[in-house]
Every structure is written in structure tokens, then in C-alpha cells.
Symmetry: C2
Subunit: 509 residues, 2 copies
């Protein structure tokens, strides 16, 4: 066992107040679970290439069509359709890096991204926020800041994500607020929403100031990431295409994530939905590599299904699980790090939401996913970020992090002597083997209450959802911003003030 | 794909009212997940044999000690300690059947039990029952009957289990009520609680009457099962030892399940807890085989841990998951079918309870478990069977059953033509590919509500727990007892009346 957690073992442990954990640079401990045979995976991959060659994809940004045309793709300017030969896709896949480091402000917040590594991100992109005290409301800057603090507070969340959209800030200056907040409250890698080159460039410059790097140094490492969603089926819109180009040029991370819900924006079958998703992700990866070979990209899967009675998106369904397992096989076929997506379609932090989130997370982990997105807090299929669900889901995420450590199996762990010491029908509470380990051996729950029914009733019969409120409030109270070098935040604020004075940056649509 | 579900595909499906499922004789679709290396597994196995050889186990029943002594074990009558050489254990393992059929009343309720097959059982052995309408109370005959009906109602529950203890019936006649109820309401295989030879024999005779078989025919097949819990550490009490002997003699199924909670009745380490569990299970299996070679047995794991602050049992913890994965490796080492255990230590049907139940169930399934016990309804670490949790957990169990079918991957499933048919940015709702499949392609949820926040709020903002009440009530209303041949129930009742008149059968302790 690597003992990555740095648990103090032996008698010295008795002096320690509690178990210390370190969930940094986790490696996925699970044997990958296939949904398809190798032949079937190859067939899906080849059929995706056929879609790109024969049917093509509609690309709304002229600059992107130009890049494709220059690379040898067949472009119809009238219909905006782009058809790409498999030779071009293969050339692109050859230059996409299979491993890179996503840099936070410090080594402790930097993560290697490659097949085999395992990171978790909180729910992202929600228009609403909700908690038990303030109810459900459109997301604000206050919510955004609080949620970035909560994402910072949990070691098992590797990077920041756009938990909630701060709708009280006008879009042309919103990116200043979101990037500044991320830089201010956390050392973890921040995200950028792609709403046009001007906003993206603002964010790159802000981050260069914060990390104190030149433009050349900025482009030398991965400092930030964005999520690219295709407009499934077979369409890439203007801001997303521009985002790919801008991020590739600056060698920052693009996560290529089609949004293929089977039965709605994708074929109703698991294999059909995956095949379309694969085609769209390949086109996006190709655009990045044609823009700048070697640009860091991740393959993305968000394949689930809709309820055929209502058209409502569903998550954590058997079809979602199968799709995610299949996506893992396709990502492995490409050799690229990849993200999956989870969460719940439920409307409150109840048993349904927990079951759906578990199903989605287990399928991600078993599929060998590099970055499990929406692993906490995500309700209503992403329409609401719920504070209490962030806490109850963190219990699950921390347990996955714990599972990355294999159990010890040396002679001491096997405990023959301890068994010899304890009489038949007795107990191990007082055994030396127990005393040496009792403070550090077991995972300590965050929100789970294991007290008996009487004690639990006397304490008010609180559900996990109800108990979670005090936990996120405490995390907010305990938060301290990381220290930046002298003058850094001032330079950042001067940049923002200058840009705001110049009118900010309008979003492109 | 086997299409075991018998889904009608193609246009004919449009006429069908809904998707039909068949969760019978499931095969585990997952690649087994190891917790230990092969060498470590071998080392645990060998250390367990050393425990049996050098330390031994206290066996409280004289008849059992006699059987061990006759087989060559070293027995100390004063201390009641039995030490068994590995040659005796190996001889026992050689006669334990690796595959057998557990017979319900019909082929549709019979299940092959072997490594690779996958069955689910509901929560078992709870002193209390609870639901939203009647609250939490000591279990009664009414609860018992209702819960047997609910276990019958769900196809994915393979066999009946002792959900709740009907404490309003005196123990000396309780087994008549529980066996009669199981026979009356369901064709699924019933269980027997071992509380002495007289009660066990009563149950065997009742079941022989119900299945209309002679004693010889009864002993020719597996018609019922019991769970044997050792009194960990290293003690086998009188009713449990007697149960092994009685069941082995009648060639009925004994599931050998030590109750090794790490930190309390077992060493605090995962490997140590497993090693003790393995030793105790091996002794129990050996007793069965020495009693009657070829007696059907299952290996049993219930290894989890306690909270070291309070001593309270915990379930669905990282340590529980690792223990279950390790137990799967040990069962595979023996080649025997095996059961694991799950459920939650929580006090209500909330997110905590769902998370814990999912963790336990996933580890069971990934460990290659043959029979997942306590998969639904189990709260407070088994002190309460909750009706609503039975329903919300069934969603999870049904999803596991769905995952046993691989997704289709033929040309039709890949849907190239459907993708060609739909315009970029369009949707697949009206595609022929969708129309042909929309009634049958997706799993239909039992209790999950995927409606949007507005509709959900208008309908009363009900949690999954609240919605579940109507579902179990409906299942109770819809229930119809299976038909037995003329005179069968009358013969059964005559037997019971005669036995009651003779004073019933006192429990042995």
C-alpha cells in the first residue's frame, strides 16, 4: 500500500487528534468494465468516422470551416457542412497529448491528467442555486463565491467548476467576477466559459497575472480549462468553435463534450447515441489539433437518455451506466484522458437523487474516467446546484478517494496474534492491534450519522439533508483565502478596472 | 444480446402497453474487482487454516464436537475448543457442491446458485418494521405477511427472506406462521430460522406438504435455506451448530455467514477481519460436509466495520467495500457460491441511507457475489425494515438487473441511417428508429420522478420516500396468492393444527 494518506501508524498515532487524508493525484483502482466487445468498439469508432466522412457536421463559425478546409476537409460554405476524412482525424489524434499536468497555483493543486488518473469535479453550469435556508433562486455572485469556497474546502474536488451562473452580473463583465473569485478563494485550477475571444483572452490575461507568468510561460502549461458542448446532433455553434480555437492557440485545456441524450438529441439506442457522441467529439478534437498540434484536449462523454413520455432528461439510469462504460472503451481506443458526467434528474436531495448520483459515479469510475464531472450538488439534471447535496455527495466522493488505496495485507494486518489474544465470543476493542490503529484505520464520515435510533430521535430526527446545512455553513466560516504574492491581487484588480472602463467584453452567440 | 427480457422490438411494439421485463436467472455482467493480489488472497486463506489448526474455535453443541472428532479434529471437551487440520477442511471443500438449483414452487421461481449467477434478497432479520403511515414498531405477523407479499411482488427479488421478526407470536409457534405465510403468498423459495431441530423439522415437513414431495424427493433438491451466523470471534453456538447439522442432513441450503465487524468482533484491519471471517466460514462449511458430504452450502460475508467512537456498526463504508471485494476473491478461491450483505446504518430513508446501500450493493456486485442480501429496506444496521426504503432500493436492484443485459451493437443499434435522417441541430423524437423502439428501449422507473421543478412542486414537492408509500400500498392491493393444488393448504393447516395441539416446538438457545 502506498500509504498516500500519510496516516501515522503505530503507537505514535495515539497522540494525533484525527486521521489526516490526502486525496491528491488519485489513481483509479478499478479494473475497467466493458459494455461492448472489442470488435463492437471498433465498429462504433469506424461508423463515427463514416458519419464524419459521409454525412459531416454543420460548423457555424467561418474561421473554423477555414481551418478544416485548409486541413483537407470538404467544406460546403452554403450549407456550412464540413466532411472530414479519417486520415485527417487520425492525424489529429496523433498530435493530441495523452498525458499532461493541469496546473493549480501550487504542486498540491496540480493534477496529472491521463488514462488511469482519477479526479472529481462538483456539479457545473447550473442556472439556479438552492439550500435549505434560502430556498431555490437564480444563481448570484454570492452563490458563486460560496460554491467556489466549498469546492476549495474539499480535498477530493480536484479543480474548480462553474457551479452556478451568477445571473445578477451582466454578461459582458461577468467573466471578470467569476475568474477573480476563483483566483481569490482557491489555489485550484479555474475554469473559463467560452463566450467569445475577447472574454477568453481577458481570462487568460487575468490568470497570467495571478500565476505571475509571461504569455510564453502561460502557453507552456495548462492553467485553465473549458467545456465545449456540441449542439447535438452534428452541429458546432459559433462560441463553442471559437472556444476550441482560442483555447488550442493558447494551449489551454478543452474538454470536448457532446450533449447526446438518447431519444432526443441522439439515437434512442445506447450504441447509436455513443456513436454520434464519438463522431462529434472527434470533430472537436480535430479542430483543436488542426488549430495547434499538441493542444491539450480531453474526450468527453455525457451520454444519458430522456424519459420518452415527457422528453425530460434522466441520469443514473441503466442506459446512462451502459453509455458511460462504452464511452470509457472509446476513450481508451483513442488513448486520451476523458470526462464523464453524472448527477441526478431529481428535484430535491433525497434517496432518488442519491441513487442516481451513485449510479452515474460508479459507472464513471468503472469506465476508467479521468475526470468525473457533476459528482456533487447537481439536481434537476443540472438546473440547480444544491448546497446540501454538495455535502451529502462529498461523502460518496471521499469514499471513492478512499477506495484508491488498497487494504494492507502484511502479517500485522492479517492479525493472527490479535485473534489469538481475544477469547472466543469476546471482542477486539481492547486488543493492542486495535489500540494501535483505532484513530486512523477507518474513514471518518462527513455527514453520515451512525448513532442509534434513540439518540438520533433525541437529536431531532434529522435527515442527512437537514444535517448537511450546518456542514456547508461551517466550511464557509472556516475558509481562508490563499495568500498571493504582494501586488498580485492589486495588478489583477487594475486590469479588471481598465477593462471595465473600456466597456468590458460582449458575449458572442 | 440475449434479449432475455423478451422485449417486443420493431413496429409490433407500438401495440404493447408497456415494457415487459424478466429478471430471472441473472448472470453477473461485471469483471470481478480485486482488493488483494493473488498472493495476498492465498496468504489470507492459509492464515485462516492456521487459525483453525492452531487456535481452533469454540463449538458449544456436543453433537457437533462429536462430528468434528470423528472426522479427525482435535477436540477439548473441557474448553469445548475444536482444532481442525487443513486436510479435513480440504476434504470438506471437495464435497461442497459448486453449483445447485434453489427451487421455488415453479421453474420461474427457481434459481441456479453458482459463481457467476446473481440474485438479490431483501433486508432480513429486523426486529422492527416502519413505514410513513404507521411509524416504527416491533415487527408483527401483519408486517411479516405484508413484507412477504412485497418480496413476492418484485421480480428482481429472487427468494424470500426473514424481513421482520413477528414478535406478537410466541416463539414456540412462530415458525408455523412464518412458513405458512411464505407458502401461501409466494412461489419463491422460503427461509427457515434455525431455533432447534424440532422447529426445523416442522418447517421441512410443512414445505414437503406444500411442494407435494416425499421425504426422499425433498432431500433430493434444495427447497429452503437458512442463514448460519457464527458468534464471532471463533465461537459457534448451539442453535447455529444444530442448524448446520439439520440442514446438511436434509440437504437443504446453509449460508455460512460470520458476523465480523472490524474493530469489534473482528480485527480492526480489513485483511484481519476477512481472515477471521474466512476461518469461521470454513469451520461451518466443514461441519456441514462432515455431517453429509455434498450438502449444499454457500460461503457468506458480512464484513464491515464499527464506528470506533461509539462502537456502532457501519455499512457502505470504504472498509465495507474493500472487505466485500476481498470476500469475493476468497469465495472464488473456494469455488463456492456466496452471499454478501449491505444496507445502511442510517435511521431514515434519506440520502445517507441510499448512499450506503449503493456502496454496499456495488461492492457485492463487483465482487461477483451470488446472493446480495439486505439489498432493500434495511435501516439502522438491520434493526428496522422500512417499507418505503424497500421501494426506493428496488429501483437500484432493478437497475442492476437491467445492467445484466449488454447493450445491442448491431447495425440497427448503431443508427447510422437515423443520424443521416435527422438534420444538424434537430432531434430524434420523430425518427423511425426512435418510433420503433420508444416504448421498450429504456428502463421505466419505479419511484424516480423526472418531472421538472414546477410540475414536481405543483404535485406537492414529494420526496422519493414520500412517493414510495403509495407504491407499496398499491403492490399490497394488487397481490394475489398463487394457486396451490386442491387440498394442499388444507393438509398444511391440518399439520399445523396437530402440531400446535401437541404444544408446538420450543426454541433452543
Amino acid at each position: 500500500m502506498s500509504d498516500r494518506r500519510g496516516r501515522a501508524r503505530g503507537k505514535a498515532a495515539a497522540a494525533k487528534p484525527e486521521r489526516k487524508v490526502n486525496y491528491h493525484n488519485l489513481r483509479n483502482p478499478f479494473v475497467p468494465q466493458p459494455a461492448f466487445s472489442e470488435d463492437e468498439v471498433e465498429n462504433i469508432h469506424n461508423t463515427s468516422l463514416r458519419v464524419l466522412e459521409e454525412l459531416g457536421m454543420k460548423v457555424l463559425l467561418p474561421e473554423a470551416r477555414e481551418i478544416f478546409a485548409k486541413a483537407g476537409a470538404i467544406v460546403d460554405e452554403e450549407t456550412e457542412m464540413v466532411r472530414i476524412g479519417r486520415d485527417i482525424v487520425e492525424q489529429a489524434l496523433a498530435t493530441a497529448p495523452k498525458s499532461f499536468v493541469a496546473h493549480g497555483a501550487k504542486p498540491e493543486t496540480s493534477h496529472t491528467m491521463e488514462l488511469g488518473s482519477l479526479t472529481f469535479m462538483a456539479g457545473a453550469g447550473c442556472p439556479h442555486a438552492s439550500d435549505r435556508e434560502r430556498g431555490r433562486r437564480p444563481g448570484t455572485a454570492v452563490d458563486f463565491r460560496e460554491l467556489m469556497i466549498l469546492e476549495d474546502a474539499f480535498d477530493a474536488i480536484a479543480m474548480l467548476g462553474p457551479a452556478v451562473e451568477p445571473q445578477d452580473i451582466p454578461v459582458h463583465i461577468r467573466h471578470y467576477e467569476t475568474m477573480r473569485t476563483q483566483i481569490e478563494v482557491s489555489d485550484k485550477l479555474p475554469f473559463v466559459f467560452c463566450r467569445g475571444s475577447e472574454q477568453t483572452e481577458d481570462c487568460f490575461q487575468m490568470l497570467s497575472i495571478a500565476r505571475e507568468v509571461s504569455r510564453e510561460e502561460f502557453e507552456d502549461k495548462v492553467w485553465t480549462k473549458t467545456i465545449i458542448n456540441t449542439n447535438s446532433p452534428r452541429q458546432l455553434d459559433i462560441p463553442m468553435a471559437q472556444g476550441i480555437i482560442d483555447f488550442a492557440r493558447a494551449k489551454q485545456l478543452c474538454v470536448m463534450t457532446p450533449f447526446c441524450l438518447s431519444g432526443a438529441m441522439a439515437p434512442i439506442t445506447v450504441a447509436g447515441g455513443l456513436m454520434l457522441q464519438h463522431a462529434e467529439a472527434l470533430l472537436a478534437i480535430t479542430l483543436a489539433q488542426m488549430t495547434r498540434p499538441g493542444a491539450p484536449v480531453m474526450y468527453g462523454s455525457f451520454a444519458s437518455n430522456v424519459d420518452m413520455k415527457s422528453g425530460a432528461p434522466a441520469f443514473g439510469t441503466p442506459e446512462h451506466v451502459k453509455s458511460t462504460l462504452g464511452a470509457g472503451q472509446l476513450a481508451k481506443r483513442l488513448g486520451l484522458p476523458w470526462r464523464s458526467g453524472g448527477g441526478s434528474a431529481g428535484n430535491c436531495n433525497d434517496a432518488q437523487a442519491a441513487h442516481e448520483t451513485e449510479m452515474a459515479a460508479w459507472s464513471s469510475v468503472l469506465a476508467g474516467c479521468t475526470m468525473v464531472v457533476h459528482s456533487t450538488g447537481w439536481l434537476e439534471g443540472g438546473l440547480t446546484f444544491n448546497y446540501e447535496k454538495m455535502v451529502t455527495d462529498m461523502e460518496m466522493v471521499q469514499q471513492f478517494a478512499e477506495l484508491c488505496d488498497k487494504p494492507e495485507a502484511d502479517e500485522a494486518a492479517l492479525a493472527f496474534d490479535a485473534i489469538a489474544e481475544v477469547d472466543p465470543g469476546g471482542h477486539f476493542f481492547a486488543a493492542e492491534h486495535t489500540m494501535e490503529r483505532y484513530r486512523t484505520e477507518f474513514y471518518e464520515p462527513l455527514v453520515a450519522d451512525w448513532s442509534n435510533f434513540g439518540s438520533w430521535s433525541e437529536a431531532g430526527s434529522l435527515t442527512a439533508d437537514e444535517r448537511a446545512t450546518a456542514i456547508w455553513k461551517q466550511k464557509l466560516e472556516e475558509h481562508q483565502n490563499p495568500k498571493r504574492n504582494e501586488g498580485v491581487m492589486e495588478s489583477l484588480d487594475a486590469f479588471i478596472a481598465k477593462r471595465k472602463e473600456a466597456g468590458g467584453a460582449e458575449a458572442v452567440s
